[in-house]
Every structure is written in structure tokens, then in C-alpha cells.
Amino acid sequence: MQEQELDILLVEDNPNDAELTQRALRKTDIGARLLIARDGAEAIERVLTEGLRPRVIFLDLKLPKIDGMEVLRRIRADERTRQIPVVVLTSSQEERDINESYKLGVNSYVVKPVEFDKFYKTVSDLGTYWLVLNKTPL
């Protein structure tokens, strides 16, 4: 099997959050190759139809067309994609969402900090953790 060509698939419909995430990751010197999907349908298209294999997926929950929970469910249900690390990155702190995500086999659940600086820091920590420290199966 070949090396992944994409590091991060960011599934995020909020343009501000997407922009900020992109900027924070650029700052980390990881040189992360990032692709943004603006809704759940696009995420599924990229991963399940086109066969894109990112090293990690950062997944928002509230998304147009197909929501994040359903994206997670479909990625985990498919033999070819179930091992891709998925981190839910959301503003929801609701117990129900956390429970459901873990039941579906999320790797990690991170709440987006509201404050700008903290958001920035969290995203760069996330990038470092999943791209530098963590090992993904090829």
C-alpha cells in the first residue's frame, strides 16, 4: 500500500472556523496537507467514493446535508475506512453527543474553545498530536 497523500480532512461548514483551523495548522511547521469538506455529503464523497485516505479526519457535528454523526457511522461501517482516525471537533459539549460519538467508535472528542487564542492553540495541539505523534496504519 502507498503512503497517504493527504494528512487532514477537515469537515467544517463554518468558513471562519475553517480559516482559523487552516491558519493554526500552517503555523505548526508540520506542513500538513489539508483538504476542507464543507458538508457531510462532501466528506463521504471524498472518503467513501473517491477513496481518499487522510491520516486523520477532524469532523464537526452540525453539518449541512449529512450530519457529522452519520459521516462517522458510515466511515466506521466500511471495512476500507474504519481504521482512519476520526476526531470530533465541535462546539457541542452535550453528553448525548459525546456518548454517541464514542459508541460509534470515535478516536477522540475535542470541544472547540470559544476564545480565539485557545481555539488556535487547541487546533495546533491537535495537528501535532495526530500528525507527529500518532501512527496511522498505512
Binding site: 459539549q93 459525546i98 477522540s108 470541544v111 487547541t122 501535532t128 501512527k135 496504519p137
Partner: protein, 147 residues
Amino acid sequence: MTSLSGVEILLVEDNPNDVELTLRALQKQNLASKVFVVKDGAEALEFIFATGNYSVRKIDDHPKVILLDLKLPKVDGIEVLRKIKADPRTKDMPVVMLTSSQEERDVIETYKLGVNSYIVKPVDFSNFVHAVSELGLYWGLLNKVPY
């Protein structure tokens, strides 16, 4: 050593040097007081499932993360992982492999069993300390667990 309740990080590691180094790195993040160390896979299972020597524990008193070595005495890390992820009472607990094995076979097998993350122990001393402190921060502070 921590008391048996309120443990936040369970470290499953048989190598005393790695234990020492891991604790030192976590100390820097003020996380060391919440770490509990077990030295083999059988003891890890007793701790996690609150049986044997750990029957005074409550099974739902989950740590925030389990740092699990692969090569362990008595019961190996893969088997410990399998048991955690196969049981509805424990399967939502984040498990991170912390191992010297870079073998693709081990990476694939652990992801198949539902590991949350796989970290190769850096050989170099300062890299090891750095990796462990990042690890502690991530699972101790950034990640949210469903309990």
C-alpha cells in the same frame, strides 16, 4: 502512588526505566499524582474490570486514558486491548498504545481492535519525555470522555 479511586491515567508498563521516565514527564504537567502503574497485562485487566486485588474499585470509575505497552508479561497488550474494547462496560475508555514496536502488523491489528491512538516510544531520552508530556496533555486535558 495514587489511591485506587480517581485514577486519571492508567500506565501499563513492565519496564521500570520507562515507568520512571513516563512518571517524570507527567510530573512536569502536574499529572503524575493521578497516574496508577501496573506491571503486566493480568494486573491491568484486574484493575480495569475491578476484580482480584482491585475488587474494591468500581468498574465505572474509569481513567481518562490507558497507556498500554504491547509486550507485557502474563497477558500481552493486544489481549488487554481486545478485552477492553469487547466489553460494553469498558469499550468507550480511550486506549493509547505506547510501544517501541513500529511494526505495521501491530499498528494494523490494534486499530482493528479499536485502539484510540498508537504512539511509538521515541528512543531518544528528551524526545521520549516530550512525547509523553504531549500525550498526557492531550488525553488528560484536551480530550473529552463520555463519563
